[in-house]
Each structure stands twice: as structure tokens, then as C-alpha cells.
């Protein structure tokens, strides 16, 4: 495999090709020009959250330029979806964004319902919203844990995984799987809440607040953590908008946009929740915005549990669904940002073309700007704060 061409900027001092051991004195010791080291933060790296390959050009410890090279997990989810029936596509979409699969499934279901004009019973929308919020909390827990690991804090990761396991037990009880849910399909959801789930969720909710404060204190309360986060990986408002960033990263830069409130879907119009906002767009703001989102998540789950209606959960989902020819776009606020499914149908049994607008794909595009200028250690923390999932980036 040919290595990607190294990034040579015009002003860069050409690296002197020196046989090992024989040092040549750099021209003009007083001028002391330094040469740039081109480094692979490659596919196999503990802190790239998957198989992201970033080519980093370093001057000593300072990152001069960075370029991401993707495709190490390109599995053709969009191409395979063109040969799957409408109720089978959810299996592929769970594997696209494998930390918050329910959001991708629900986005696809909403797109098909908008195209085919299917009316979803109220209970199904309630169940979808409840499961999406539980899934969002689990996804933010994974982010919080690995974000601590990137900054070097090993302990919070284990506490957070304990909370996440308890939450996954609940999600598994409802959907049948810890990660590949197949729960939300065009027309409704697969099953109603099994008996006793509400009790389990309330029991988990009783602990959740305390654990979140504990984890927040462990990470956010730590003075060194704050010093490392403030002022590093700054993505200002215009860069964020120009690169199409959405979700927590955009809100951290001060842009007040949340798909759940601005382009409401499911039962979000009936729920009240705030959208936390940052100001400068540095790593600390992204941290504060996401922890704020986690608190709002708990509030939402309580409201959903209280207002859960009775009724049919949309069990009659036909296998031979043939939406009319046409196109539809449905967006959902996934933990990473606006996740949209652009569905093109030619009236057949399988979608003609399905485009997954994945938030992490656009949040990652800013990596060339955000990493340049900082130290290498800050680059790793910035990558962690963007909360990228390579499954949905490479599709």
C-alpha cells in the first residue's frame, strides 16, 4: 500500500537526507532551523476511537499540519442497503453508528414513514423517544469514559462502564440486544416495554444523577483536566458552521441549534428541555455542553416515563412495504449531531439510494484546522472531544 504523500508546505525546511549516525551540522547554527517530523497517528492507535489515520506534521511537539485519511472501515452500508428490504435496512444501520444505533434506525424509519405517508401510533413515538434518550445517555457515557482516557484519567472510565452496564441491561431487556437493536422500524417499534422495565429504569435513574455528579467531579473537577481543556482545540463559530459541524461540537461554539427542538420529530415537541450552549468552542466547552446534555437526558427520561401512554406500539409492519417513488430526508439529533437519512425510492421493494448524512463525518472534517497549532497531546484530546465513530464516518 503506498503511504499517503507527506504534507510539504512551501515554507517547510527540506529535511536533510542524512545517513544514520552521520550528523550534518544544520546550516547556520545561530539560525537553528528546525525540521518537521511527519508522524502517522495511524489506524491502530489507542486514542483515535477506531481506525482513523491522521498524518501529523510536527515541529518538535507542536502540530504544524494534520490530514485525516479515512476508509479503513468502509463497508459499503449505502450500497448494501440498495439490496435490502425496508425492514431489513435497520440491521445495517445499527452497524453504521454502533454506539447509538437507535438514532440511525429511527432516522431511517422516519424517512420511510415520511415517504410512504405511514402514520405511527403515539405509543410507538413515545417508545422510540424513550429508547433514543436511553441510547443517547449510554453513548455520552462512552464518550465521557474515553475522553477521560485520552486526557490520561484511567479511573473514571471504570466507574462509567459500571453505570453503562446497568443501563445496557435495561436496553437489552427492552430491545433484546446490547448494541444491535433492530427495534425501531418503519411503522412503529418491535415490542412494547416488558413488565417491570419502568421500575428498573426508575431504579437506575435514582442512581444516575449521583453517579453523573461523581464522574463529573472526577473529571471536570480535576484542576489539571480543566487546565488542559481550556483554550485547546478551539473551533470558532464560523469554522464550525463552514465545515458543517452539528450537535455538541456546534453548540460548544455558541451556535444554538438542536434538531430535537428546531426540526422536532417523535414526541419532542411535548417535552421541555434546555439546550446547553458553550461560547468559545474549546475542549472545555465541548465537555461542559455534553455533560449538560446528559443531565437534560435524565430529565427527558423522567418526563417520558411519566407521560407514557397506552396503546398499540405499531405492531403491524408489513414485510412487503413499497413506498411510492420519490425522495425524503429525515434528520434526528444523534449524540454526535444531526444524523439524516436521504432516501430515494423507485417504488420497488428495496430503496433505490440511501444516503446516510453522518454527523461525525462532518465533525471530523475540521480536524485539519482544529489540530494545527496545538501540541500533540492536545491534538489527542481534541480528537476525543469531537466524539467520532468511525463506523458512520466510513459507512
Amino acid at each position: 500500500m503506498s503511504a499517503p504523500a507527506p504534507i510539504h508546505r512551501e515554507g517547510m525546511h527540506q529535511p536533510v537526507a542524512v545517513p544514520c549516525g552521520l550528523r550534518c551540522i544544520p546550516r547556520g547554527v545561530d539560525e537553528l532551523a528546525t525540521e518537521h517530523l511527519v508522524l502517522n497517528m495511524g489506524p491502530q492507535h489507542p486514542s483515535t476511537h477506531g481506525v482513523l489515520h491522521v498524518l501529523v506534521e510536527l515541529d518538535g511537539e507542536e502540530v504544524i499540519a494534520a490530514e485525516a485519511s479515512l476508509g479503513y472501515l468502509h463497508r459499503g452500508i449505502e450500497k448494501l442497503a440498495e439490496s435490502r428490504r425496508y425492514h431489513q435496512v435497520a440491521t445495517l444501520l445499527d452497524r453504521a453508528d454502533y454506539i447509538s444505533g437507535l438514532h440511525t434506525e429511527t432516522a431511517f424509519a422516519l424517512a420511510v414513514e415520511r415517504l410512504a405517508g405511514i402514520e405511527v401510533p403515539r405509543k410507538a413515538s413515545y417508545l422510540r423517544t424513550l429508547m433514543m434518550e436511553l441510547n443517547r445517555y449510554a453513548s455520552h457515557l462512552v464518550w465521557l469514559g474515553t475522553f477521560g482516557l485520552d486526557a490520561g484519567a484511567m479511573a473514571p472510565f471504570l466507574y462509567i462502564m459500571r453505570d453503562r452496564e446497568m443501563l445496557l441491561d435495561i436496553i437489552e431487556a427492552v430491545t433484546g440486544s446490547r448494541m444491535m437493536f433492530n427495534y425501531s422500524r418503519p411503522g412503529g417499534v418491535v415490542a412494547d416495554l416488558p413488565a417491570g422495565t419502568e421500575g428498573k429504569i426508575r431504579e437506575w435513574l435514582a442512581h444516575a444523577d449521583g453517579w453523573l455528579d461523581e464522574n463529573d467531579a472526577l473529571l471536570g473537577g480535576n484542576e489539571i483536566f480543566r487546565l488542559r481543556m481550556k483554550g485547546t482545540g478551539v473551533i470558532d463559530r464560523t469554522t464550525a458552521l463552514a465545515f458543517g459541524m452539528t450537535g455538541g461540537c456546534l453548540r460548544a461554539s455558541g451556535v444554538d441549534y438542536d434538531v430535537r427542538r428546531d426540526v422536532p420529530y417523535c414526541v419532542y415537541p411535548e417535552l421541555d428541555f434546555e439546550v446547553p450552549l458553550g461560547s468559545t468552542g474549546d475542549n472545555w466547552d465541548r465537555y461542559v455542553v455534553r455533560v449538560g446534555e446528559m443531565r437534560q437526558c435524565l430529565r427527558l427520561i423522567r418526563q417520558l416515563l411519566d407521560g407514557m401512554p397506552e396503546g398499540d406500539h405499531g405492531s403491524k409492519m408489513s414485510r412487503m412495504l413499497k413506498p411510492p417513488a420519490g425522495e425524503a430526508y429525515a434528520a434526528v439529533e444523534s449524540p454526535r449531531g444531526e444524523l439524516g437519512i436521504h432516501l430515494v425510492s423507485d417504488g420497488g421493494l428495496t430503496p433505490y439510494r440511501m444516503r446516510l448524512r453522518s454527523p461525525a463525518y462532518f465533525n471530523l472534517a475540521v480536524v485539519d484546522e482544529a489540530l494545527a497549532g496545538g501540541l500533540l497531546a492536545d491534538a489527542i484530546v481534541t480528537l476525543g472531544s469531537l466524539d467520532i465513530v468511525l463506523g458512520e464516518i466510513d459507512r
Binding site: A5, G71, H74, V263, E327, H342, R353, R395
Partner: protein, 148 residues
């Protein structure tokens, strides 16, 4: 100033376009070569956020879709243009830098070009892979996929 429909704004900028209203929403079809000027005109109209850019193989031509959004008004607009296979469409990265990655991906997975792109390398597949999202490229059959 009366709220101009995007199509009027484009016509004012001298770009031939015909709007249509489908289940998708406000769709404007126009000439692929004029997409850069169209997006510039729309940027002035407030459509300052590129949500997505992707290409579809419609059997005989490639249909490109630019999904832009007016951020304050939360209005979406879909610009569509058709390009023949291995054709080209101007790169719009100077107006929307968000288009950098999707253009490389569309160029590589559907076999077309975006002249003016600063970094036209392959994004997702290894050099020499055929354009996989074309209808002509078939998936592996059951026999091939069974542990060949």
C-alpha cells in the same frame, strides 16, 4: 424586500433553473456547471450551511444533490444537477468547506471529478478500486461471498 423564493434569487443571478415541490421539499434543478455561482448567490440569500452533498447513479447519468440550509430560518433547499459518467462538476469548497470530504467521496465512489478541489486524493477506498456505488458494479453473489 419581499421574501424571494430561492429560484427567483437564482434567476436574478442569471442561472437557468426550474423549481419543483416534491415530498422532499424545495428542490431546484439546474445546470451542473453553474453550481458554484448558484451556491454563491444562495449564500447571499442566507443559505449558509451545507448539510450534505452526494451523488446517485440514475441508470444513465449521475445525479448530484447539494442539500443547503438557511440556518436562521431552518429552511432546507435541495439543488440537483445531472452529470454524465466520468463527468465533472465544479468544486464548491471555497463557498462551503464542508464539501471537501463529500466531493472526494462522490468522485471516488461514483467515478466523476470535481475540478478545483485542493486535495483530490481518494478518501475511502484503495487506489484502483472501481466506482463501487454505480449500478453497474454488482455485489458479490452468494457463492462468491461464501468464504471464497
Amino acid at each position: 424586500m419581499p421574501v424571494q423564493t430561492p429560484a427567483d434569487a437564482l434567476r436574478a443571478a442569471g442561472i437557468a433553473c426550474e423549481p419543483s415541490d416534491e415530498t422532499l421539499g424545495a428542490v431546484v434543478r439546474l445546470e451542473a456547471a453553474r453550481i458554484a455561482d448558484a451556491l454563491e448567490a444562495l449564500y447571499a440569500e442566507g443559505y449558509d450551511f451545507l448539510v450534505d452533498l452526494f451523488a446517485t447513479d440514475t441508470g444513465e447519468r449521475l445525479e448530484l444533490t447539494w442539500h443547503v440550509r438557511a440556518f436562521e430560518r431552518h429552511e432546507d433547499l435541495y439543488l440537483k444537477a445531472t452529470v454524465d459518467y466520468d463527468g465533472e462538476a465544479p468544486s464548491v469548497w471555497s463557498i462551503h468547506p464542508a464539501a471537501l470530504y463529500p466531493e472526494r467521496e462522490a468522485a471516488e465512489l461514483l467515478g466523476m471529478r470535481f475540478p478545483g478541489h485542493p486535495n483530490p486524493k481518494r478518501l475511502l477506498t484503495v487506489d484502483g478500486t472501481e466506482p463501487l456505488l454505480r449500478r453497474s458494479v454488482l455485489l458479490r453473489t452468494a457463492e462468491e461471498a461464501r468464504l471464497s
